[in-house]
Symmetry: C2
């Protein structure tokens, strides 16, 4: 199966599951549920859940093993975008060509819809049958998206947006933390859900770290931001290429069943949006 | 032991545990960690964690059984106050006589510190040793503080703040959801941590529901808001008294070991701040 077809197939499954994990739009008080659904069911690529699924499948697990956790990762991604777009953050008016949540529903509802999606993410995670899995996944995911991870990255991103000449350590921190940590933990979630041993978990986490870093550098090249503020596009592309090779190398040890993960690393490097 | 002494003793233990569950102020990026600590370690009464502890102890459990979950409830309470105080919400400048988080650290950091505390709450919850307990508590708490609970209450509270004559159903919904649900689930958390049977869980949850509702009515009387916008202070006081009696009656079945819970219900009714 081509990677394009793989993405398409998984996206259908993830979209359907996300719909089932979100409260109905008419449930009282409906405006918050409308806003939650507007933010999540918006034609997103579902890259993070599909990554978790691909990691699980590469290690012999099935999509069923990981689907709630994969959807929780997407709910977290969605909440982070709502809060990132707020007037006090990036003050973005449009996302994927549609008004941002605060533009459509007002700022208060946008803050609360983000809060509700983050809360719902942990609710969905804890709906998994295996309690040991919940006990492993909640701390891993909370750490990756908390003040030492994704949120920390947003803090530093906000700080460097206000300075003229940001420094490499801060930009690297933002790239590793803001985008990279959620991508890394998406891969790790797949490995944990597949019941991988500690060594394999580490392999997948290393892969995810390189992948997340290269994902953000490619974003920077597309948006002319971040890395591209302190180095040339050419240098940034080289950096992303090195990370892609490192990502692919780290999963080589898993053999041919991990081919899909290698393809995904190349896809991340070569995407144009 | 008097209730006052009981509160004092438990507060010392809760404050120490909260301190240990929060990232150090100097951890990078330090501004977010300073903001998180500023919001939580602020001399709060710790009513919700102490309620969870009192419920556990009433059912034969120990403080150790419930302490992480009790602290998670306080982290959630703290995050909700930060976001509630934001300019787009209540636009409050002071809390307990000190500048609110957004006033002191800026709006972006306030949004992110709230997000980080909510995330940390689930991290702390999942640090409990018993995985079955985590599997029970995460969904109960997430439901109580999500879009069908606390957040839903905040949505409707915001809506009625904009109308001249709010109606009783909306005001009741706000009181039950915005404050009441977290208080109810604090009691329930104590029961679950103590390993109570389903019937006892229900008893404690009913107690918590009446307690939470009366807590908010007393708040309304103190702040001349909410219930006091549509009925006299006298009528509101009567309502709170009825709820207090119902709360006390519901835990009578547990015998003398639940005396403390009765005392707490009276305390909530008679407090002046």
């Amino acid at each position: 199966m081509t990677l394009e077809k793989y993405f398409k197939e998984k996206k259908v499954i993830v979209d359907k599951a996300l719909d089932s994990y979100l409260p109905e739009a008419k449930a009282y008080p409906s405006v918050i549920h409308q806003a939650m659904r507007y933010a999540v069911l918006n034609g997103g690529k579902r890259f993070r859940p599909i990554l978790a699924i691909a990691a699980t499948e590469a290690l012999g697990g099935t999509i069923k093993d990981v689907l709630p956790a994969a959807c929780a990762l997407e709910l977290i991604h969605s909440y982070s975008l709502i809060h990132d777009d707020l007037p006090c953050m990036d003050n973005d008016m449009f996302r994927r060509g549609k008004p941002t949540v605060h533009k459509k529903f007002g700022e208060a509802i946008a803050v609360l819809a983000g809060d509700a999606l983050l809360t719902q993410a942990f609710h969905v995670l804890a709906s998994m049958k295996n309690s040991k899995l919940i006990q492993r996944l909640v701390p891993e995911i909370a750490h990756a998206v908390g003040s030492h991870g994704m949120i920390g990255g947003q803090v530093v991103d906000k700080q460097i947006s206000l300075v003229k000449r940001p420094q490499l350590p801060e930009i690297s921190y933002v790239n590793i933390s803001k985008t990279g940590q959620l991508i890394r933990v998406s891969c790790l979630t797949g490995a944990i859900a597949a019941g991988a041993d500690k060594k394999t978990e580490k392999t997948i986490s290393d892969y995810g770290e390189c992948l997340g870093f290269s994902y953000q550098i490619v974003d920077d090249i597309i948006d002319s931001d971040g890395f591209v503020r302190i180095m040339s596009r050419h240098e940034a592309q080289d950096e992303a290429r090195v990370l892609t090779e490192r990502a692919k190398k780290s999963v080589k040890i898993l053999g041919s069943k991990a081919n899909r993960l290698g393809e995904i690393a190349d896809f991340v490097l070569n995407r144009e949006g």
